[in-house]
Symmetry: C2
Subunit: 454 residues, 2 copies
């Protein structure tokens, strides 16, 4: 009996070792195929250089949808389709103008969703604050009718630059709303970014219900310092801002979707995606052309090495992550509503096409019976860090469908330098880094298709 | 007795925990100081833009020595001095010229140490081989009098790009020597680099004893493909190369050295360094202005936060790593010869100023009693990977003095794109990445100064 038991134990062990060796071999095949023949980089070049930036609702976003659909069709996948999404349509209009009166012009970029100034602009005294506490301490009396200038410096003493975004981001997200509550006429912020340069960073801002919308824009870090220094010299100086942005009617757009259908569990879906839209500056290279082209590379690679996943792997290029997330919400509602498919897992790449360092995962995934094996296999490729964390904005609504969410976690140091600026261009993407990321995404998707999420 | 024993155990444990908390606090201080006030990036800018590339023996190398000495003196360290080093003095001369006859001109760069062609150049038939096996199979009969073209493609399916360098590098290091043995008149190689672009990569080549030196140069990857394609169309085509390089007499130069003297064990030395010389193209930004400015930042940071190391931390800007390593050899000989100082450890940064991912270490360091604690502390900063591996070329000769060697191991994906090219310029360096690297170097140096190498 004891003998039998040991033998049984050994044979189970030997099966487990064998399985892991097979997994290792598939991982190697995926890596070799993506690194040697990957097309994500060339596809991203095409998207960035022949279409460029592509804010939801723009003609370029339409072009990008068509481009994506044709590209997916060219890969001979099992299905390719479009999912209709109604998206907001904000336009910047003529380039904004910012000037520190008596000192000079500055690099300024309207925040996404901002309203315009009157045609002649707003020329008003500036009240500088470094944070919300200073704003509140000043109160309505000092703020009313003025331009509030949030000069909150991006904290560099963070290991992950997304933590810096977490600290400085709120001044973009709700700074205008808070200042408007106290009667501010307009708001300018120091760009939420890690580089000290001339590029202003845009991005969404929002107003709490019932709060009057006011024009809001970001200055480059260099020009935020310029304004700060000018205010020291002349505390009552005025700032002139002219902005021409406008929210038009919502328009129809699409999520673009392709899949390899699972051989054993075709109705169990693993989503892999990024967002196709970008801000209306730069080329949306890291944010998030990278994530889209990497996600499609996952399917191309599996197809090229002739690996048939047991579960369906579905690639989604989401529309409108940047200013509304209507693509994510629309797809999430579909997934929740259908009883034909079960979305077991979703992986998003939306933190830049940099060297992969791991994945953000759902808490429950840490107790997956094969979790340690996966971490060991992935560590070889430098993707060792599996931490509980954010999956991605587009896939967020899938949580309501019971889906486990995963986010590619690349090296974060450069992302916040480029994010939402004219500087987020193709030349900032490194081919090896982009393809390394795509390869570990392919490994995770295949592994999930093999073992499920338990 | 049992009670006493437990109490004793607890108090030891509590001391250990306390020590670790103190280490953690020092690490945090180092991180904050380097990330918030670090000067490595600005110093590197100054070196790259106001001096530029600086091959040993060149006027720029002299300028760099003076610049370094003055910079070190400005930091109010305990000692700053120069160590005399005799260095080889190779010069490129007038820009080389390469042409595929009937097809067009190419981007070509002489390999470091190459001899010149005759004034009128060499115009000869090209024999393309992809590796040494093909060369040998052809033999002297087919090679004699011809130009050998090594077209060995950099392998992209490596996780660490230095492994690709290990595979493709030998064609640069000894390709000319092997071809010359078979009577080749000259040698051209496909650049040893990971990017497919127009930049040719230089770097040292060597000839075995008694082998006749022949002119040798590298083509950019794009032009290696161009030549390859031309050879398919016209197998007997000729290639013209004109090179004007020359080895002059050795000249006097210097290692530039500064230190903070240890409070308890001033004669136990921890070296931290990089190399000041670079190839004679680009700006030597990642290779290795980064390593120098990071090493000096270690001292600046410790001084700024007023942490007094128990052992001496000595920063060395080595001269002549690229084509002779005379700085490393000279310092190594000093360390071996002195009985006044014991060099317990040396850390080099010469793999680029990219995001740190860990350290290469000596095998024996893995059994340091506090090794696990160190790894845990460092992991927080993303430097988790402590692997047995190469410390650095400059510090290599210290092994003879019984020194434990450490090498900063940054993310490797971009290094081989830039290495030894016109493209290794300051704009390729990211401030956060450079300073992250400097901060973990500072942590390791301080920790070694506190606990020794055991």
């Amino acid at each position: 009996m004891i003998k039998h038991f040991i033998a049984g134990g050994l044979s189970l062990l030997s099966l487990a070792v064998q399985a892991q060796q097979t997994d290792k071999q598939v991982f190697e095949k995926i890596f070799d195929e993506t690194m040697l023949h990957g097309e994500a980089y060339d596809n991203l070049h095409d998207l960035c250089k022949n279409i460029g930036h592509r804010l939801a609702g723009s003609p370029q976003a339409d072009m990008a949808v068509r481009w994506s659909y044709e590209l997916m069709q060219s890969y001979d996948l099992d299905s390719v389709w479009l999912q209709e999404v109604m998206v907001p349509h904000w336009v910047r209009g003529a380039k904004e103008y910012g000037e520190v009166i008596n000192f000079g012009q500055v690099n300024m970029l309207a925040l996404g969703g901002s309203i315009a100034t009157p045609k002649e602009g707003i020329t008003e005294q500036v009240i500088e604050v470094k944070d919300f506490d200073e704003l509140k301490a000043l109160g309505a009396e000092k703020i009313k009718g003025k331009i509030v200038f949030y000069n909150h410096i991006f904290p560099q003493n963070v290991v992950n630059s997304f933590d810096g975004y977490g600290e400085a981001g709120p001044y973009r997200w709700r700074g205008a709303s808070e200042a408007s509550k106290l009667g501010a006429k307009a708001v300018i912020i120091r760009s939420v970014g890690s580089a000290h340069d001339d590029f202003a960073h845009t991005g969404s801002t929002g107003f709490a219900d019932g709060v009057k919308k006011v024009p809001c824009a970001a200055l480059s870090a260099v020009d935020a310092d310029f304004l700060h220094d000018a205010l020291i010299k002349e505390p009552s100086l005025k700032f002139k801002m002219v902005m021409n942005c406008e929210m038009l009617d919502s328009v129809k757009s699409y999520n673009v979707i392709a899949q390899i259908t699972g051989t054993q569990f075709p109705n169990e879906i693993i989503v892999v995606g990024g967002h196709l839209d970008s801000w209306d500056v730069g080329e949306g290279a890291h944010d998030d052309g990278s994530g889209c082209t990497q996600s499609l590379e996952v399917l191309r690679t599996l197809k090229a090495i002739n690996v048939q996943p047991k579960r369906t792997i579905r690639c989604i290029f989401y529309m409108n992550e940047e200013n509304g997330n209507m693509g994510g919400k629309t797809y999430g509602a579909y997934a929740k509503g259908t009883n034909k498919e079960k979305h077991i897992a979703a992986l998003e790449s939306d933190a830049g096409g940099f060297s992969p360092r791991g994945f953000n995962v759902d808490t429950t995934f840490l107790s997956h019976p094969k979790f340690d094996e996966l971490v060991e296999l992935m560590s070889f490729y430098g993707a060792y860090k599996f931490e509980v964390g954010h999956g991605g904005t587009d896939i967020g609504p899938l949580e309501g469908a019971g889906t486990k969410l995963f986010g590619l976690s690349p090296d974060s140091q450069r992302y916040m330098d480029l994010h939402h600026t004219e500087n987020d261009t193709f030349d900032k993407v490194n081919k090896r880094e982009l393809h390394m990321g795509a390869s570990v995404m392919g490994m995770l998707c295949w592994w999930l298709s093999e073992y499920g999420v338990k």
